[in-house]
Symmetry: C2
Subunit: 164 residues, 2 copies
DNA sequence: TATTGTTATACTCTATAACTATA
DNA sequence: TATAGTTATAGAGTATAACAATA
């Protein structure tokens, strides 16, 4: 029979399986959002700090810049983001999140928080933050610039009311 | 500023980022294998226990059965697997791993083991098995039948020599 | 000359539908 | 009638190439 060490050897399989579960439970939540899961990542990235260029967004999400054009087209039509000219470089466009975009982001974030806890339910309550912490440290190692929007932060940037 | 709790909130992002790193470092390893990452998963699944049907494999990998046909075509051409008629159901085919397939599986598994440790290097040595364990428990929750091939087991099944 | 963003095109991947053979 | 597997076709998603504007 296989030992626990051997059972836990296939890290890639485990990662993929967990991500697949995550996608299943979050799919419904993100279905209404223009751009889906990617649209959500664009919102979280664009809502924090300096409005990023399209190219910076594309690199951060790991997609081609042409894909980013189509994605932002949808999100702009949906009223979630705006393309503003970069005063320092007239080739580039800065992606800013609209009020509606911030509202949508907050809604989705709250729903995702619940969905994530559902995903982690098989673990003991004290194990859940451990997994989050370890995963996050690995993830930021791969992308050290990463910072995350919180609802309150997003609202500060737009000068918006609470609601979140 | 964001607190650690807030920073670690986006589980989906962290999972995806880590999986992306994993794919980067394993890409080269799996490039030569017919079927790539999926071919590897087919090998690990088919090398353990009863040779599965194509449909069972498709469900386990989360792909359409037509995709499985093409995937197995490539792997059969590459000499890694064989399609054998199921004696109990002449519609179905049992996928068995050839000797060459087992050898390839062992090679890839050994290389992946190293690659995984590279991925986990940012963590302290005692944290690495913790992450593996937590991820694996979540993953098996989603797919409770999961068992994993070990090289020695695969060799037992084919009556093969060690080499791994 | 290189870079940002857009558009058109081609390619890859995946799913749908129709078929054969079994059950 | 339903299921396992195959094949052909259509669709979605993605990348490549060419372009305009700017650096």
């Amino acid at each position: 029979m296989t030992t626990p060490q051997q059972l836990e050897a296939d890290l890639g399989w485990a990662l993929l399986a967990v991500l697949r579960s995550y996608r299943e439970i979050s799919e419904a939540l993100l279905a209404g959002l223009p751009g889906g899961p990617r649209g959500y990542h664009v919102l979280t990235t664009a809502a924090t700090g300096e409005p990023p260029s399209q190219l910076a967004l594309a690199r951060k999400l790991g997609v081609d810049r042409t894909v980013m054009t189509y994605l932002l087209d949808d999100m702009e039509k949906g009223g979630l983001i705006e393309r503003r000219p970069d005063p320092a470089d007239r080739r580039a466009r800065r992606i800013t999140v609209t009020e509606a975009g911030n509202a949508a982001l907050c809604d989705v974030q709250r729903a995702l928080r619940t969905a994530e806890e559902t995903l982690l339910e098989p673990l003991d309550p004290e194990e859940r933050p451990v997994l989050r912490h370890l995963l996050y440290r690995l993830a930021t190692r791969a992308d050290p610039q990463r910072t995350e929007t919180t609802c309150t932060e997003a609202e500060k940037l737009t000068g918006d009311a609470p609601a979140c």
